[in-house]
Amino acid sequence: MGAYLSVPSWWRNLDGRYRLELGQCPDCGAHTFPAEGACVECNSTADFETVEPEGTGEVVAGTTITGGAPPEFADLQTQEGSFGVAVVELDEGARVPGMLTDCDPTTVERGDRVEAVVRRIYEQEGIVRYGVKFRPMD
């Protein structure tokens, strides 16, 4: 079973999905993704200032999905084979989960530099869900 996410819920956070918009804490300056809730650094609940990151960062953890992907990713797995999923620490400091693209996922390691690109994440009910994936930098 996939984790179904309605289109209105998806839409509510488009700035995060498309451009990784971060919340900057007015108290300590740390960045939180997504830009809602409490600051990941100091737990302040003061309103974030939203900022857009460069989109570059490094892999801090990753894994390769070789089979049994959720149904919304079945087409991708059939067409592209195994794909990587990683936690990326952006240069601004926020940690963001994302799929890897344009690479052999088994060659991506901790510390590798990656950049954000927008790709088709999946298609459901005839609607394409676009969002950020990460691509290894040359």
Partner: protein, 322 residues
């Protein structure tokens, strides 16, 4: 001409994957795309929208204008992800353009890029991104699929820039049954009468170029394959050099003439007519003077025919989780 009749910056994008003509010949016993040596293959998670975004970001990076200052966004493609729905709005949202931006999607024709440029110069009241992105698809045993490539080119139109859009001209004449895609179908089709198709292309491309006040020394026409543009050029008055990227990237559909223009610039040409031809048929010739850099160099990876067939969805039942 309009208020934004200069190209300030440009960006081009091609997917990471490539396939050689030899890989097709090995799979099919034949390769039916004349003049195509290799071509670009989009990943399964790419489409005209994602490629447009990549090219547009590069063009924005090269511009003095920031994205909030853009007045218009034109998107051109024969392969929008939906038959109806403003895909230009999706591109604008992903890029983070201001909500006041005016958008337009040009589709149903490989000449869509030329129409988008004309719209960009005339309609929005300020700097405008014009981006053509395409990944045509044919039936696997059809020459159209053997030629089908992928890529995107974006131009940022502004009041001033290194390239001046000096003149445009059009030519329209019906040639039914040349390349078309039936409603609801993914694969492009054609009546497949080669001499007739060549005549349609040659007549309409030459008609648009001849309608320009001044004959350009170079042309960058829509390139359904790597041969037809050269054959058509023989019908032109004068001795224009021909630029196309189908030999290396395949048929990039609506983005084709914009890629051709970028290739002409890379070769030092500074007076070029981009000729956006769409089967059916009509063409828009856009004479531009000056040069810009729009490179699509990147690390590429060759794929086998089997990998190609999977990435393009030829051998798998796709359509999402339904």
């Amino acid at each position: 001409m309009g208020v934004t009749d200069a190209i300030e910056s440009a960006g081009a994008y091609t997917p990471r994957y490539r396939i050689d003509a030899d890989a097709f010949a090995e799979a099919w016993g034949t390769f039916d795309a004349p003049g195509v040596q290799r071509k670009a293959v989009p990943g399964a998670d790419e489409d005209a929208v994602t490629m447009a975004v990549e090219a547009a970001k590069t063009a924005l990076d090269g511009s003095a204008h920031d994205r909030e200052g853009l007045a218009g966004l034109a998107f051109a493609s024969t392969t929008p992800p939906v038959d109806e729905g403003d895909v230009a709005a999706t591109v604008a949202e992903i890029l983070g353009l201001d909500n006041t931006v005016e958008t337009a999607a040009f589709t149903q024709s490989t000449g869509a890029g030329g129409s988008a440029i004309r719209w960009g110069t005339e309609v929005p009241d300020g700097p405008t991104l014009v981006v053509a992105a395409d990944a045509p698809l044919g039936d696997p045993d059809d020459a159209l699929d053997h030629a089908a490539g992928a890529g995107a080119v974006a131009f940022l139109l502004a009041e001033d820039g290194p390239v001046e859009i000096r003149e445009t001209a059009t030519y329209t004449e019906e040639f039914p049954g040349t390349r078309f895609r039936e409603r609801g179908a993914d694969a492009v089709d054609s009546y497949d009468a080669t001499a007739y198709e060549r005549d349609a292309y040659g007549t309409v491309v030459a008609g648009a170029v001849d309608a320009l006040d001044e004959a350009p020394p170079a042309i960058a026409p829509t390139a359904p394959n790597g041969k037809r543009p050269y054959r058509a050029a023989r019908r032109l008055d004068g001795d224009a050099d021909v630029y196309e990227t189908a030999g290396d990237l395949g048929d990039t559909g609506a983005a084709g003439p914009l890629f051709g223009l970028a290739a002409a610039w890379a070769d030092g040409e500074d007076d070029v007519a981009l000729v956006a031809f769409g089967d059916g048929a009509s063409a828009v010739a856009v004479r531009v003077v000056g040069t810009l850099d729009a490179s699509w160099d990147r690390e590429t990876v060759d794929v086998s025919y089997a990998e190609y067939a999977r990435k393009r969805g030829h051998v798998v039942e796709t359509g999402g989780d339904d």
